[in-house]
Subunit: 204 residues, 2 copies
DNA sequence: CTACATAGAAACCGATCGGTCTTTATCTTG
DNA sequence: CAAGATAAAGACCGATCGGTTTCTATGTAG
């Protein structure tokens, strides 16, 4: 009957179990939403028992926060891949990247948690710094990308967050009312608009 | 001890109770969110018993849908008030109106339900037509407002929905990460951008 | 190998969920 | 008024929730 008598250190067991729990939490929020992501659901998906769960996380909230941090970290990692060569990107590439990340399955975790945070003070308090540092990271990268082109930094920040918000709203609405043609047209227009805007400002 | 022996017709009792239930549902979603809006919560807020609730609504979902429809109807009514005189509005007024409606407390019901719908097929199916007709109403009004200025209808629709999505995303993020100065600057820039865009297109 | 600490399993708990059922109050109809 | 229909109350139900507790398995240190 064997079983798996693979010998692992305590540290290995610990991090592996934590990893399985966080991954299961992300997947569960993706697939069944924030509120149906119960501890039972997470345990079933991860194959970890409640006892195991509570050894590493003091509450459901702790696990949710860990999942949110992991999602933010993945966004960050995607940025690293994007500008690995250090060559500045065009506005079209940036918008395409932002849109793809926002529409990425992992990002629905962000939407779910963000909306839940509105009415859950504990969650909101702990999510706020994560949200803030995620935006700081994004904006800093955008500013760095356009460095030396004479674009006002504030405007770069405003433009990039505005585009993100637009894709956020579009994505959320598209779950219940998808309009692929309109969404494609929006992407096209956004590229044209922001490109023209960039040229105008750089020309000044 | 009296009580309230006010005589009402069955129709009056019916519509009054339904109204109280829908209103309580909207308030509850606003204040405690979609998922904590339980039947117990709704009954407590409305002063109606579970028996009374289930006389008029076959399930929690039915009541949620009724609340969503009411929220959409209120958006519609706000439009009626806005253009009561029939005079076309400027882009600044339109954006201000859109932003105010999206940030209005009642609209959080829409966000909550929209996000919940992603993972609840029953809700999504029934919310889809409501969402669609709400957008059709909004876009039709926008198109009507700019009639005769030579603006392509598709572009008007695209612009208005894009602005809405941008304010949607901004609003949702602002619950956990409010940035009043950035949000004000965004509004200002949006007005300038869309106004310039409108002039360019009308001039063609 | 022993003693101890950490990791993990699983039964268990009170509270709350959406929904049902039985009973009572109120209104309508003749 | 009486008889029937509709409205509303609230006790009740099984399922599930987050969390606790008890107990076992596994790794670590001497």
């Amino acid at each position: 009957m064997s079983a798996t008598p693979v010998r692992r250190t305590q540290e290995q067991r610990r991090t592996e179990t934590i990893g399985k729990l966080v991954e299961a939490t992300i997947e569960s929020i993706e697939q069944v939403g924030y509120h149906r992501t119960s501890l039972g659901e997470i345990c079933a998906r991860s194959g970890v028992s409640k006892g195991g769960l509570f050894r590493h996380f003091g509450s459901r909230l702790d696990l949710i926060i860990a999942a949110a941090e992991e999602v933010a970290a993945r966004h960050s990692a995607a940025f690293d891949d994007l500008r690995a060569d250090g060559v500045p990107l065009g506005i079209d590439d940036i918008l395409a990247f932002a849109r793809a990340r926002i529409r990425h399955e992992t990002n629905v975790v962000w939407f779910e948690v963000l909306v839940a945070a509105r009415t859950e003070p504990d969650l909101r308090e702990r999510l706020a710094p994560i949200t803030q540092s995620l935006y700081e990271m994004i904006e800093a990268r955008a500013v760095a990308n356009f460095e030396g082109l004479g674009l006002p930094e504030d405007l770069v920040r405003l433009a990039v967050t505005s585009a993100i918000h637009m894709f956020d709203g579009e994505t959320i609405v598209s779950y219940s009312y998808p309009r692929p043609e309109v969404e494609a047209a929006r992407m096209k227009s956004a590229v044209e608009l922001f490109t023209a805007l960039g040229k105008d400002l750089a020309a000044e």
